[in-house]
Symmetry: C2
Subunit: 289 residues, 2 copies
């Protein structure tokens, strides 16, 4: 068993059925140095306890997942979402401070889909920009970067109306890059004819808050959310995108987040080890060129 790449970070979504203690232990035991956490397992133990557990693990903290979901029109549901996003910002700041040196205070933002019964995609996208604008001062005060994640267009209606990296950058452009950045996740954008130009633009504009690698293959599972695969198991060539991210000067951890029933059914330590093995073959060669 070789030592995992020092830049690999395990996103807790890869270990969906593990509680926080298990996820931290499996990640550290495998020799991985960093982790991205999810809000629900953090809230399950409470933020202060989660922060102590993270400190004790010795792991770096790479991102907090996830917030956003603010495409609805003004009203109580939108107010509740904005308030919940403020809580998420505080969580991200606290956890980043609790992680080992090199931790980053990044909150991944998934915009949300079309509101129930709505066909107004353009309006939903405008409300994403409005929400980011409302949250940006809180993020700045907390030292947290809101990292807008474009999701694959197959999720545009029910999960995320931000579908391309270029679109995420257009939204981010109104804000300070330290406060609003973008999530570059290969699974969501590998198909985009403009992907390399968009990554170069993201780097030039100082917007790459987190780089995440995940493979794609077909047929898609019945639940298309769960078709994420270990790097190397699918059809994505990680070379060009990874080189473009590295050429931007990106020096943070690189997460692997896998929603996949088979992987979730794997023992956490084994899932982390397989992730590290895939990463080493499919991604690491492009980090050290």
């Amino acid at each position: 068993m070789s030592t995992p790449d020092p830049r690999l970070s395990i996103n807790q979504g890869t270990l969906k059925y593990a509680d926080l203690a298990t996820a931290l232990r499996a990640t550290a035991e495998a020799g991985v140095q960093a982790i991205g956490l999810w809000r629900e397992p953090v809230q399950e133990v409470g933020l202060a306890t989660a922060a102590r557990m993270l400190t004790d693990s010795g792991l770096r903290f790479s991102t907090h997942c996830r917030s956003g979901f603010f495409t609805m029109p003004e009203g109580p549901a939108r107010r509740a979402s904005i308030e919940d996003n403020r809580v998420a910002i505080e969580e991200a700041a606290t956890l980043a401070a609790a992680g080992a040196a090199g931790s980053t205070a990044v909150l991944v933002i998934v915009a949300g889909g079309l509101p129930q019964g709505s066909r107004d995609l353009i309006g939903a996208r405008e409300r994403v920009r409005d929400a980011i604008g409302e949250l940006a001062p809180d993020a700045a005060a907390a030292g947290v970067t809101l990292s807008i994640e474009p999701l694959h267009p197959m999720y545009a209606s029910d999960r995320c109306v931000v579908s391309t990296l270029g679109q995420a950058l257009d939204i981010a452009a109104d804000f300070d890059p330290a406060v609003v950045g973008v999530t570059v996740d290969t699974f969501h954008i590998w198909w985009d004819p403009d992907v390399l130009a968009s990554i170069e633009r993201a780097g030039r504009e100082g917007r790459i808050a987190t780089y995440q690698v995940c493979d794609w293959k077909t047929p898609l599972p019945a639940d298309v959310l769960l078709g994420r695969h270990y790097p190397g198991d699918g059809v994505i060539d990680f070379g060009p995108m990874t080189r473009a991210v590295m050429a931007s000067g990106y020096d943070r951890d690189i997460e692997v987040e896998l929603f996949n029933e088979d992987i979730w059914a794997t023992a956490p330590l084994e899932a982390v080890r397989r992730t590290a093995a895939g990463f080493e073959v499919a991604v690491s060669p492009y980090l050290t060129e």
Copy 2:
């Protein structure tokens, strides 16, 4: 039962289990004036017979579906594909000549996915351009427009490496617009933040060979090919895209092509009538503004 919109064309894919005679009869009996045909049911009766049947139906012919699938590297499989595309061009020309006045000689081109075992998306896309270049003289000689169809990015790996309208237009740009155009299908491109600008560009460049309307909704079915819905049954706002197509001066028939097990299980005449009813509510208002 109101009279169907005179610009509606039923794509035979909507009536997958109907043979050519049944498809022609159901379309005409419902009062629809045009049809788009598929190669397999045409070949089942033979091209000459199909052409006679089409003439006898009194219907206009709007497109021939479908050809392409030429992303593989040079070799016997690629040669076979190119030859088969030449056959498809002749079929399209023959059927367009056999249809009623106003028929259009349009061959829909689906590029094909990544070749088995390949991760070279950029190379596959280059081979699409090469194949179009090889076929363009044949299409020009036959008076047929090769209509490149961008397919939704969820099909990028296994079906079509052309994923956006802008990308299709970039490929088409090397060729005469009478010979190489694009298929504008709402289902595939509705999510694209650049969709309206791309439709305007397509119009300006004279490339809209066929406009097709089809709705999107989630959850997607287990086979994501089959999630196409009657206009109005999903979340697409047909107004902006239809207005943009009409503003370009598009004056051809508008097809509805629905891959959907429930619709395929519907009696053909009833499926045509439901298609016409959906079209009238969701699309027709934007044709006559």
